[in-house]
Amino acid sequence: MNLVYKTLNQMNTANTQKYTFKDFQSDQEVRWCPGCGDYSILAQVQRTFPELGIPKEKIVFVSGIGCSSRFPYYMNTYGFHGIHGRATAIATGLKVARPDLSVWVATGDGDGMSIGGNHFIHACRRNIDIKILLFNNQIYGLTKGQFSPTSVQGQITKSSPYGNIDQPFNPLTLALGSQATFVARSLDRDPKHLQLMIKRAAEHKGVAFLEIYQNCNVFNDGAFELYTEKDTKDDNVIVLENGKPLIFGKNKEKGIRLNGFTPEVVSLKDGTFSPDDLIVHNEKDSMLAFIIANMSNLPNLPRPIGVLYAVNKPTYNELLENQIKEIINKKGIGDLEKLFYSGETWEIK
């Protein structure tokens, strides 16, 4: 088919080698509250993207509505600020129509998990090749502070003046339960780690879900303090590395082992346990991923960050393109006029 945008592929594009993070800054004034965690996420994306080797006209950021959903305006790529909750569905249509593009979704815990929950789980199960960045600040920022589906129980917000009674989602188990093929978590306040995770998401073929703990300093300040502040983070965060045992603590003195199927913290100091007793991380094991993801729901365990799960499965768009190729191989490229005249026809003279 002689499609205009196919020819676009042959057009001269900027030399992707030469990009710097400035190339990804748009001319729009960034309008988040001073101190908002969104700034860091934007910066890490802009820093990472030059390394991806993707021409910037091939990149699209799609979002819904929310503070976080303003993200596309600030990226000097193609950008689509959609309606509340529908970013993944829009991105899916775009990717199906245009498998040549690198399609990213920027969404919030309200946008992506509340009103947009259905599109999210369906994108996961279909393994459509889009990258989903969930800015999880455990609050509705843009609408000025109602609880979200990730807000903790008891949280006092404008719409829960006596404390939120909803049990929150664990975005990681939700994604795993929906059969996402890439599930990871990072933090706005850990630029290096965040950059790494963005790169890993970009490299993944298939749906990539990256939850980012993001501080909303206006309506939910300090929600992730434990995991970001110098004096608490080492004891409260465990950084996952593939093939490595789950060790954490300021002096790497603690580890996670399984008691039955339940993870528990053990000390590596008193000699009772050694690294050999610990869970060894394996990004390809979905059951282990679920166990690790579930740690966030259990008390007294550190929060895992890193890639929980990453496997290759055929993507929706791959399967579609293959199916199309197969059919064309079998039947040839369809001739519409012939189709019109096929089957029972008759002539009137």
Binding site: M1, L3, V4, Y5, L8, N9, M11, N12, T13, A14, S26, Q28, K56, E57, K58, I59, V60, V62, I65, Y73, Y78, G79, F80, H81, G82, I83, R86, A89, I90, A91, T92, G93, L94, K95, V96, A97, R98, D100, L101, N118, H119, H122, L320, I324, I327, I328, I333, G334, L336, E337, L339, F340, Y341, G343, E344, T345, W346, E347, I348, K349
Partner: protein, 609 residues
């Protein structure tokens, strides 16, 4: 035996039976064959909302009506000449549609006590004389079918399933149609089941032979080919025509076609049909719901596809918010609403034309969208193509209204030559030096279509109000007022791009009937009849609902009275009264069924008396 052959101008037959009796298939075959011999025709399938209601029950009756003739046929017929009934419930349900003196062909084997009771008969109507006004042929179709297959060793269930071919064969004989097209179809359809081919063939022939040899039939009928415009024809349903209209538009726009859709009766067949053509540059995406259906289509449109979404009333309601987004983004999008009975789940398998106001007005804030309506199964092709043309040229979503009646109904279609359809391909923006996302074409007021992948055109769009030309977010009050009015003007200006409305009949007179959508056939037939009786009545049928054509007001002023019949409580009429301040009167019946020409004739007589 010598049989009389009587020539008829037109005939209406209804096949009716239990959901499991294969009446839709029978009707479909009769349609193909009838088209093949060159009659004009129109059809009306009618089946229950339940997947399968209890066998023999009234709720389980499924039927198919076909009206064919040697002249132009516009409706599936008001009343039947012939009613084929496979059980008592079918007779009970449809006897009222049969003309006095009409023919009944009944499968007497199924008029068992149990079935009679299920249908609510105290005595057997085939025997109690209550059908005296009709010509009733009570035939042991089940038994005759069994006889025909007795040596084949088939399961009784399978044998019973073929009995509809007996009825078909008999009606072929009665109306003098060839059995070859159906024989050919059987061979192809059951290519891998030689047993079934053999059984169906035998039974079809047995039915035909029964007519030929049995003494009870003394008359055969002949219906000459109709005088249709010359060319190649095929039979097509409205949903198929919609699907093909989209494909033709994509072809002539030089774009891939993307359909984002969620199944819903009676629109699902468009999705089914398009999903067959992956090798034609068609991608169908069965979304998780209607919202994902339309938003995925918007995503695809942003990516440069000819994007469409298809649905019916409740699904249309769910797309409301996203339609507003499409308006703001000014991206081409075709939204097909195959209307059905409502409100809410309503009568999902029945027809209605009550989504017009929703299509025109049903969005938050000022979100103008062009609305077109198809008048017949084949017109679905033309209207869908026209919708795509407007969508691309004016960078706007366009709503196409069809309904269950024309979506499922079939008629002969003069196959168009693709080369004769206009080129509707867009010019994507490519020049970074001049590009502005919300700059405007001077005439169409359209903004440029700039798709990802184009170097140097990186830009951002969204649902917030945009500044004129630049497309940046703008909260400026004057810009907002300007943009709201600009969007409205862009759509109302389309009036300059469409042909003026025409009137069938005199351009002045006593009564003008204005209609839209699938009521075309019944109303045109009625008007034709009344005109031939010398009544001063004209007919204007609208394809363009928004914007209305330029000359409507002028036309209206030349008639003393204006009647707007609609299968709703008066929707188009509201717009006409508002726009032209004319005291139009409505005729509104909301029975889940198409109008019959005779109702319209009656109301014309009443008004003109």
């Amino acid at each position: 035996m010598n049989k009389t052959i009587k020539s008829l101008e037109e005939v209406t037959i209804r096949f009716a039976g239990d959901s499991g009796d294969g009446m839709q298939l029978t009707g479909g075959q009769f349609t193909t064959t009838t088209a093949f011999v060159g009659n004009d025709l129109a059809t009306l399938p009618d089946y229950p909302a339940e997947i399968r209601a209890p066998a023999g029950s009234l709720a389980g009756v499924s039927s198919f009506q076909i009206h064919f003739g040697a002249k132009e046929i516009r409706t599936p017929g008001d009343q039947c000449d012939c009613l084929v009934v496979m059980n008592p419930a079918a007779l009970k349900a449809y006897l009222k549609c049969l003309k006095d003196g009409g023919t009944i062909i009944a499968n007497s084997d199924n008029f068992t006590e149990k079935n009679l009771k299920l249908a609510g008969y105290d005595t057997n109507p085939l025997e109690d004389g209550s059908l005296g006004r009709y010509q009733c042929f009570s035939i042991e179709i089940s038994k005759l079918t069994q006889n025909a297959l007795s040596d084949m060793n088939l399961s009784p269930k399978l044998v019973d399933k073929t009995k509809n071919f007996f009825a078909l064969g008999l009606t072929y004989w009665m109306y003098n149609r060839p059995i070859e097209p159906t024989l050919k179809w059987i061979k192809e359809k059951f290519a891998k089941q030689p047993d079934i081919i053999e059984a169906n063939t035998r039974v079809l022939k047995a039915g035909y032979a029964y007519g030929e040899t049995t003494e009870i039939f003394t008359t055969r009928y002949e219906v000459e080919p109709a005088q249709l415009p010359p060319g190649k024809y095929r039979s097509i349903t409205g949903n198929e025509a919609t699907a093909w209209g989209l494909m033709a538009a994509a072809k002539k726009a030089n774009l891939e076609l993307f359909l984002g859709s969620y199944p819903i009766t009676p629109a699902s067949e468009i999705l089914h049909e398009l999903s067959k053509y992956k090798n034609y540059g068609v991608k169908t995406f069965q979304a998780e719901d209607e919202i994902a259906g339309i938003t995925s289509a918007i995503g695809a449109a942003y990516g440069g596809a000819l994007a469409a979404t298809t649905t019916s009333g409740p699904g249309m309601a769910l797309k409301t918010e996203a339609l507003g987004l499409a308006v703001m983004l000014e991206l081409p999008l075709i939204v097909v609403d195959v209307q059905r009975g409502g409100p809410s789940t309503g009568l999902p398998t029945k027809t209605e034309q009550a989504d017009l106001l929703q299509a025109v007005y049903g969005r938050n804030s000022e979100a103008p969208i062009p609305v077109l309506a198809a008048s017949s199964p084949t017109d679905c092709f033309d209207v869908t193509f026209e919708a795509a043309r407007i969508a691309i040229k004016f960078m706007t979503p366009v709503i196409v209204l069809t309904d269950g009646y024309i979506a499922n109904g079939a008629e002969p279609w003069l196959i168009p030559k693709l080369s004769e359809l206009p080129d509707i391909s867009p010019k994507f923006a490519t020049d970074p030096t001049t590009f502005q996302p919300y700059s405007r074409d001077e005439i169409t007021l359209s903004r440029p279509w700039a798709i990802p992948g184009t170097p140097g055109l990186e830009h951002r769009i969204g649902g917030l109000e945009k500044s004129h030309i630049y497309g940046n977010i703008s909260y400026d009050p004057d810009n907002h007022d300007f943009m709201v009015k600009l969007r409205a003007k862009k759509i109302s200006n389309i009036v300059n791009d469409i042909p003026p409305a025409t009137v069938y009949g005199g351009t002045t007179g006593e009564l003008l009937i204005i209609s839209w959508g699938s009521t075309f056939g019944a109303i045109r037939s009625a008007v034709e009849n009344k005109q031939s009786q010398g009544k001063s009545v004209s007919h204007m049928h609208l394809k363009y609902i928004n914007p209305l054509q330029k000359n409507l007001g002028e036309i209206c002023r030349n008639f003393k009275k204006i009647l707007v019949p609609e299968i709703n409580l008066g929707q188009l009429i509201k717009i006409l009264r508002d726009k032209f301040l004319i005291d139009a009167i409505g005729y509104n019946m909301v029975r889940g069924l198409p109008f019959r020409a005779i109702e319209i004739e009656t109301i014309i007589d009443e008004i003109l008396k």
